[in-house]
């Protein structure tokens, strides 16, 4: 007989001796129950800590990073559209110049925000550094084009178009990389802790079953109706387990809502804003360069806007959202009508129309998109806050309450054991 087999046999015999009497069986039962409750508490605490950490990270870091990233991209596109409108106007259009400066400042500030929040992600920092340097080069080209334009230098148009192309190519690539990196963070932080929660729930369920059966057994043996400490331990185990499940389910629901109504809407709206601004840039280039081919490119970008508007309309799930999408649609149609008039006009009239109705109707659309983006941003942050708020008392409930249940159970078993002395 091997050493192991002898050990098992001896252990089994000791266990049989220990549980041969009723007090012995209660003692063993109490130890198993305590172990299961301790396991439930450990698993529950682990779930609570992970939930609390991930929701806090989502609320204070990942969420703001996502928002700032999308806003930076949208603001760069807005700056570009405004810079092109200001260039077209010579130095007369103070409003376009103001819009350009404000949008560029916002984009720079948002890139800095992302950089400060994104932590030790070296790859993301490289992308941010490149994006920052690109914005500096872009702004320098815009200023050069502006100065040349004022001085009546013929290269002004080439400088401005170089700026536009720089942002359209390198800027889009950098922004895309940054968006991918931040979306990965969202996925990581919002990942479900399925295995751990299943283990915790199983442990709480097992503790409940053990406590319940212990009471049934005791009632049969002693004909007493209640063992109060065991009843309290059972209630505490139930409360902890149900609380854990409810908080976990609520948090998942909040995170899903945050993703669906918040982040996905933010992405959709930011894409809409960028596509709208591409349309505007191409339309303005068509006027500056007297280039009808650019109107074709503007039409292509406009097609994207219309498709995105339709998707936004489909995803609107409240009267307020539907009203906002309707307003966007009307303002976009007004802009497209203005572009139609610009395209149909002669060279000189084109410029006047583009500066008048073109600017006005486009700004109306653009600002409306931005305000919808603001609503979506608020939805995202609200849901992330709510998810984090849910986890606030969870550590106490799934940590201390099972511990109290454990002590109560041990006390309850001990009371009954004492009766046999």
């Amino acid at each position: 007989m091997s050493l192991f087999s002898r050990g098992v046999q001896s252990g089994t015999q000791r266990l049989q001796r220990a549980t041969s009497s009723t007090p012995g069986r209660y003692r063993a039962w109490s130890m198993v129950t305590a172990a299961v409750l301790a396991l439930a508490a450990v698993c529950g605490l682990s779930v609570a800590n992970r939930l609390s950490d991930s929701t806090e990270r989502l609320e204070s870091n990942t969420g703001p990073v996502l928002v700032a990233t999308q806003q930076a991209v949208a603001n760069l596109a807005e700056a570009d559209a405004a810079a092109t409108a200001a260039f077209m106007a010579g130095d007369e259009d103070r409003e376009s110049r103001r819009l350009y400066e404000e949008a560029l400042a916002r984009a720079v500030g948002q890139i800095e925000d992302v950089s400060a929040l994104i932590g030790r992600d070296a790859e993301a920092h490289d992308v941010l550094k490149e994006l920052g340097s690109l914005v500096t080069r872009y702004a320098a080209l815009v200023e050069a084009a502006r100065a040349e334009n004022r001085a009546g230098v013929s290269e002004a148009r080439a400088s401005h178009l170089e700026a536009v192309r720089l942002l359209a190519a390198d800027g889009a690539a950098g922004s895309g990389q940054l968006i991918d990196a931040t979306e990965d963070r969202l996925e990581r932080d919002a990942r479900a802790e399925t295995a751990l929660i299943a283990l915790a729930v199983t442990a709480f369920l097992a503790a409940f079953v053990l406590l319940f059966l212990a009471q049934v057994a005791m009632t049969r043996r002693s004909r007493r109706i209640l063992n109060l400490p065991l009843v309290l331990a059972t209630i505490a185990a139930i409360v902890s387990g149900v609380w854990l499940v409810a908080v976990y389910a609520g948090t998942r629901a909040d995170l899903d809502t945050a993703k669906r109504d918040g982040y996905e809407s933010i992405t959709l709206t930011a894409d809409l804003q960028v596509a709208g601004q591409r349309t505007r840039v191409e339309e303005t280039i068509a006027v500056i360069d007297d280039d009808d081919a650019a109107f074709g490119r503007a039409d292509d970008a406009a097609g994207q806007v219309e498709a995105l508007l339709a998707r936004l309309g489909d995803s609107a799930d409240s009267d307020r959202e539907r009203a906002a999408v309707t307003e966007l649609d009307v303002r976009w149609q007004r802009y497209r009508e203005a572009v139609g008039e610009i395209e149909a006009a002669g060279a000189e009239a084109r410029r006047e129309l583009a500066l008048g109705a073109g600017n006005s109707t486009f700004n109306g659309f653009n600002v409306s998109v931005e305000s919808v983006l603001g609503d979506n941003r608020a939805d995202l942050i609200d849901n992330l806050e709510q998810a984090h708020d849910r986890t606030r008392r969870l550590t106490f409930v799934v940590g201390l309450v099972p511990l109290a249940a454990l002590l109560a159970a041990l006390f309850g078993f001990q009371l009954r054991i004492k009766e046999y002395r």
Partner: protein
């Protein structure tokens, strides 16, 4: 008709500024719709700032009983009477809609004292002129809806000046000494003098504004500036007390009906654009009726009726076309550049902005000190 800015001094002087007009609803109300809609709407606005028939037609259309209070005398007065003692202390103002000037709206929005608009009940929000959507403090106009806008420029009587007046600098020429008037609104007078000095009031800095105040102070000390006033500039121009003055576009338009020889110009340096906006103050009893009112007054037909009456710049798209279609005097208004400034003029208009609230308060205090005893 007077310009909508009745100052506190005017208010006290007249002694009867409070003109509440309750209009009884004609038929069944929509008041039972939700608990927040009690079928009553309380509006606080400036005087003579609406065609009264619009209140009647709103009630007839919606069944909402309107208590229309036109006692909004000035922004400072409203701050002292409604906002500081009530709203700032977490108490309701007793109104569902109030119409302050944009800079005060900005402050209230930033302080979280304005309810977001019920945009789902305001489909006519789409008619807000894009010019008013881009305010940095409320992108997309989610908290306010502009009521009317105006320009502060120069009005003059060519017979009195003996020459054309085209710039703010002209008002400081010695040939007009003692016959120049300015307005009592600090942001407008200081803003225009800043423009004269080559500074931009849409990016106002304390230094530039202080320098403009110094220039105004010199003008008072030298006797160049006779006094500071509000809508009474019209009577002072008519009487010859002023040869030229800073003036509000809507009142200038009314004055021109009576005296077509009087001219109103946007100065070469640029003019000051301002607007008053409807807001729903926090704790308002009936934000639903407020939304319905906003939607109603943003119907271009209704807005055209209001524009025809008040003769300020309408911030609502489509009003001009409707006035043109109405023919007669309405169509003449559609061609009036004071009501519908062209693109070139619009590009020369500045909205005062950019300064911290505390700095503005300091400026206002100094402005009040400088102009003390010179307000008439």
């Amino acid at each position: 008709m007077t310009r909508r800015r009745l100052t506190r001094r005017d208010f006290l002087g007249v002694g009867a500024g409070f003109a509440a007009a309750g209009v009884l609803a004609a038929c069944t109300g929509s008041g039972a719709e939700t608990t927040q809609n009690d079928g009553r709407l309380r509006v606080l606005n400036w005087s003579d700032y609406i065609d009264p028939s619009v209140i009647d037609s709103f009630s007839a259309n919606t069944g909402i009983f309107v208590t229309y209070d036109s006692s909004y005398g000035s922004n400072e007065d409203a701050l002292a009477t409604h906002f500081e003692p009530k709203l700032f202390r977490g108490k309701p103002t007793g109104y569902d809609i109030i119409v302050p000037t944009y800079w005060l709206v900005e402050r209230l929005v930033k302080d979280g004292l304005v309810e977001p608009l019920w945009l789902e009940r305001i489909p006519n929000h789409v008619n807000v002129d894009p010019e008013y959507l881009g305010m940095a403090w409320d992108r997309g106009a989610r908290f306010h809806m502009p009521w009317q806008a105006g320009i502060t420029g120069i009005a003059y009587d060519p017979a009195q000046t003996g020459r054309e007046i085209g710039s703010v600098a002209d008002l400081f020429e010695s040939d007009l000494r003692g016959r120049v008037g300015m307005v009592v609104e600090m942001r407008e007078t200081v803003g225009l003098v800043m423009l004269m000095r080559g500074d931009d009031p849409s990016r106002a800095t304390l230094g530039a504004a202080e320098a403009a105040l110094d220039r105004i102070d010199e003008g008072i000390a030298s006797g160049q500036i006779k006094s500071f006033t509000d809508s009474k500039f019209a009577s002072k121009l008519k009487s010859g007390e002023y040869a030229a003055c800073l003036a509000w576009s809507g009142d200038a338009a009314h004055l021109q009906e009576e005296r077509p020889d009087i001219r109103f110009v946007v100065p070469e340096e640029g003019g000051i654009r301002w607007f008053d906006s409807m807001i729903v103050p926090r704790y308002a009893a009936n934000p639903i009726a407020a939304a319905d009112w906003m939607n109603y007054t943003y119907d271009p037909e209704v807005a055209a009726t209001i524009a025809e009456y008040v003769q300020y710049i309408s911030p609502i798209l489509g009003v001009r076309e409707i006035l043109e279609g109405r023919g007669g005097t309405a169509a003449a208004l559609a061609d009036n550049p004071i009501l519908f400034p062209d693109e070139e003029t619009r590009r020369r208009l500045y909205v005062w902005s950019g300064m911290a609230t505390e700095d503005e308060e300091r400026l206002t205090e100094r402005f009040n000190q400088i102009t003390a005893g010179k307000v008439s």
